[in-house]
Symmetry: C2
Subunit: 199 residues, 2 copies
């Protein structure tokens, strides 16, 4: 099965169409889950015809793969933006808190989408595609933590890139699902869990 895009948009409106399709797909999954994710619904929500969708994505799985890439890119962007604001003189706990806040942001706004994407990543052959993003994120985190080698164990970039986001989400979910949600506490707990894991 071909999972790469069918054709690349060359004009501005075509790029807008692609964006609208991906945005619609993300919205549908975030609101109604994987079961509601079908190509006709995506096209309708995007305000384009079903034919336009298949101009750019050869099949449904290819659309899902593009969505996974988009999500990974978004997480990496958020992480890099957070890293850029970190004071070079900050202590370990402050750095970790900034990273946790960045990781929490995506899962708090689109939890169903994040869970669905995890599931689809396991089903589709996208290891090569997401490896790029994981590597970049891992190196960034490792670099940020390199100053604290006396306080924490060695940080494997490849492992940190996978473990830390998952760890944050685990703790976040636990507190966000309570009634009422206690999101401030979630951040504190996630910081504690990450620090506990690193040491």
């Amino acid at each position: 099965m071909v999972l790469s895009p069918r054709k690349l948009p060359k004009q501005g409106r075509a790029r807008a169409t692609c964006d609208a399709i991906l945005e619609a797909a993300a919205h549908i999954i975030a609101r109604s889950g994987l079961a509601a994710f079908n190509t006709n619904a995506v096209a309708e929500r995007a305000g384009v015809s079903i034919g336009s969708l298949y101009q750019y994505f050869p099949n449904k799985d290819a659309l899902m793969v593009a969505l996974i890439q988009r999500q990974q890119q978004g997480q990496l962007d958020t992480l890099m933006a957070a890293a850029a604001t970190i004071d070079p003189a900050a202590d370990l706990q402050t750095v970790v808190r900034a990273l946790v806040r960045a990781a929490m942001q995506h899962h708090r706004t689109d939890d169903l989408l994040a869970t669905a994407i995890d599931h689809e990543e396991a089903r589709l052959p996208v290891d090569d595609l997401i490896g790029h993003y994981l590597d970049q994120g891992g190196m960034l985190v490792a670099a940020l933590l390199a100053n604290f080698q006396d306080q924490i164990g060695p940080v494997e970039p490849q492992v940190a890139a996978r473990t830390l986001p998952a760890l944050v989400r685990a703790v976040t979910d636990a507190w966000a699902n309570l009634t009422p949600p206690q999101l401030d506490t979630a951040e504190d707990e996630a910081v504690k869990a990450v620090l506990g894991y690193l040491r």
Copy 2:
């Protein structure tokens, strides 16, 4: 939408039919993911007719709900079995390791199934159904950790029941997805993460 079972089996063979249906559903999701989970395939794999399936489950979602209950019960059973073997004189790390091993078992054998069920739990209104299991698991863990109040912070049973399994899976996934999988390391790392979170 009605999600409770349509009728309860009264004869032995009917109970066997129900079990076969649930077993088939779990097998299909574990092997091929949510996309391959449809009622016709479940009935065929279970070796019963599609009509029999609808004798006991009014619709597909009801079958999913029953599967969720089955999974929760299985996890609780595993946890209780592990708790029963814990030496009352064991130290904190030993207790945590036993709990981690119990939590890892299910996700290692049926990772795709566990992920899919997480996703469906978020979509279906099953809070009341799974709350029972979470409460029991949380109380059990809280009781096991009550002896160590001097070493760890206060343990809220409701939170522990949600956080700890998720935490374990987060770390497990990070190490199991490597090539080659390092499952022994995964257990060590999960123990470290849990201890770090508790303290």
